[in-house]
Symmetry: D2
Subunit: 180 residues, 4 copies
Amino acid sequence: MSYEIYASQWLNTAAPLSLASLRGRVVVVTAFQMFCPGCVINSLPQAKKLDTLFSRDDLRIIGLHSVFEHHEVMGPAALQAFAHEYRLNFPIAIDQACESGPLPRTMKEWGLGGTPSTIIFDRDGNLALKELGHLDDLRLGAFVGQLIAQQASRQDTNTGAAQAAVDQDGTQACGPTCTY
Amino acid sequence: MSYEIYASQWLNTAAPLSLASLRGRVVVVTAFQMFCPGCVINSLPQAKKLDTLFSRDDLRIIGLHSVFEHHEVMGPAALQAFAHEYRLNFPIAIDQACESGPLPRTMKEWGLGGTPSTIIFDRDGNLALKELGHLDDLRLGAFVGQLIAQQASRQDTNTGAAQAAVDQDGTQACGPTCTY
Amino acid sequence: MSYEIYASQWLNTAAPLSLASLRGRVVVVTAFQMFCPGCVINSLPQAKKLDTLFSRDDLRIIGLHSVFEHHEVMGPAALQAFAHEYRLNFPIAIDQACESGPLPRTMKEWGLGGTPSTIIFDRDGNLALKELGHLDDLRLGAFVGQLIAQQASRQDTNTGAAQAAVDQDGTQACGPTCTY
Amino acid sequence: MSYEIYASQWLNTAAPLSLASLRGRVVVVTAFQMFCPGCVINSLPQAKKLDTLFSRDDLRIIGLHSVFEHHEVMGPAALQAFAHEYRLNFPIAIDQACESGPLPRTMKEWGLGGTPSTIIFDRDGNLALKELGHLDDLRLGAFVGQLIAQQASRQDTNTGAAQAAVDQDGTQACGPTCTY
């Protein structure tokens, strides 16, 4: 299975990001909703703190706003205000809405069970952890630290072809993959 | 100075409330904004817990949604979703917007410095505490406990006249009182 | 049932205290052991904070070191060092050892189930609360606040006779009351 | 500089340990005193949690009871009771007392500034971190995780000679090294 982020819009980044373009770094994706108490009280503060521990050449934090309820009041403008007030400085992807149902596309493709979820990829882009709920700080730190210390096995993964595929996907409307 | 709540709308109550109608009870008003981190992480959970400690004949908690920024994304529908997700069961007043500026009317009339603010009235309706920021649980409990133990000095304060005045104010648009 | 403190020794007070001599004040007794994690992490810090909220004319905090295990390493000198390091400034009674078993006398007389326990007396010296385990700050504050607001019904309770009885008990070795 | 543990006694281990004998593993030493609030409230619970995250083939936690005050009430029997009540299961070294002053030997040799201190050695036995005070969970986890992921550079470091030197030191009384 290949993981990619399907974003309708990005915050806090000049250009859209893709997991492929971040190969060589450990990537921690925090899937959240702005009205999800566990996200607001635990996971987002944790993501902010994690973002300060390592160089962004080694670790990238990405917020994934995966709205699956109350869509009408958690739109981009609301998210922008929320991110401003909570001082979220890392890039945030707005998960693509699907016409086929309330679950957004990345959330469905990745099989996320709800928010908050933490999804971690190693330097080679392989899925290393996908977990629903809050992670203990010490455990998360230890897990990420181990991945950071591992060298990427391939240095040429960020190919133009991979990037092109992602860009294409990133602008597609939800297609057949959204029918389940 | 007389304190009253100027609400454009109420949540979690069949009919609008007024401080006058609650005479005889201790009233704790938690002024908040749904995108205010200190409100969400500290004050609203504290208000929920306080609401469970006493009979509602003795203590009433009122949320006051005093929006003074990001008005466009903190409207009634957003607040309704927020209150649902955070399991806020106590009555919440939406502070009346003022044409004269970003500060809502109750916030201005009461001289609140920001959110979160806690405003407490004794059983006679007298202001007992008005404080910006988070209050320590032990201190807040001790303060409220003392007020609870005091009997109301007047049993006839909930007069029809007082109620009428409040109802009238409650439906007024922001007038001259909003010009300062 | 009459409550009194049976102490073999006191810390942080020039003279032994008795509940009778404290009539007119609310008294919170925190029963602890210096090697009890729940006492050290929760109850003693809470007692310290509570001690700062009110005048000592209204509220007195008393620590009760009720050792029922590891007696040989929780003696007076160890307690003195412990109290110094944890900055415990309120009076602490060392619960009288009993020859009849490991439970100290006050703990047995009061029917305490373990440590930490919180025992609260109103201004008249009546038992108001006796609870094993940690109390939530907000709830404890509210409980104590209510008692503080109540006036003592009798102003003459601190009689010489009552005091004499206590002093006598306070120096007795464990007698028949320790046989159960 | 060479680091070794000078212990007068060990708890929770069948035989004395030495850093040399643990080569190949990451070793986290938590220096504490049983009456040190920061140790009891923060560092020891953290050490317990860290001990559960990795195999003991990869990570070893060692408590170091470095008593530099109140010596008379923090002896081995008291420590044993303390460790039992706090459910400390990892090996604990009692730092050797020095005749030349209140500071124990390991604490002096290692230049520790007080308690709690955290001292971390990599798989090769090199000092990786030495810090006074409490470490944030996320940061500590990340630091240890990185060390865990690194392979030991030498597989033969646990030589008989090194071990012998340690054993000899470990049983010496405080000598000239304690005079500064």
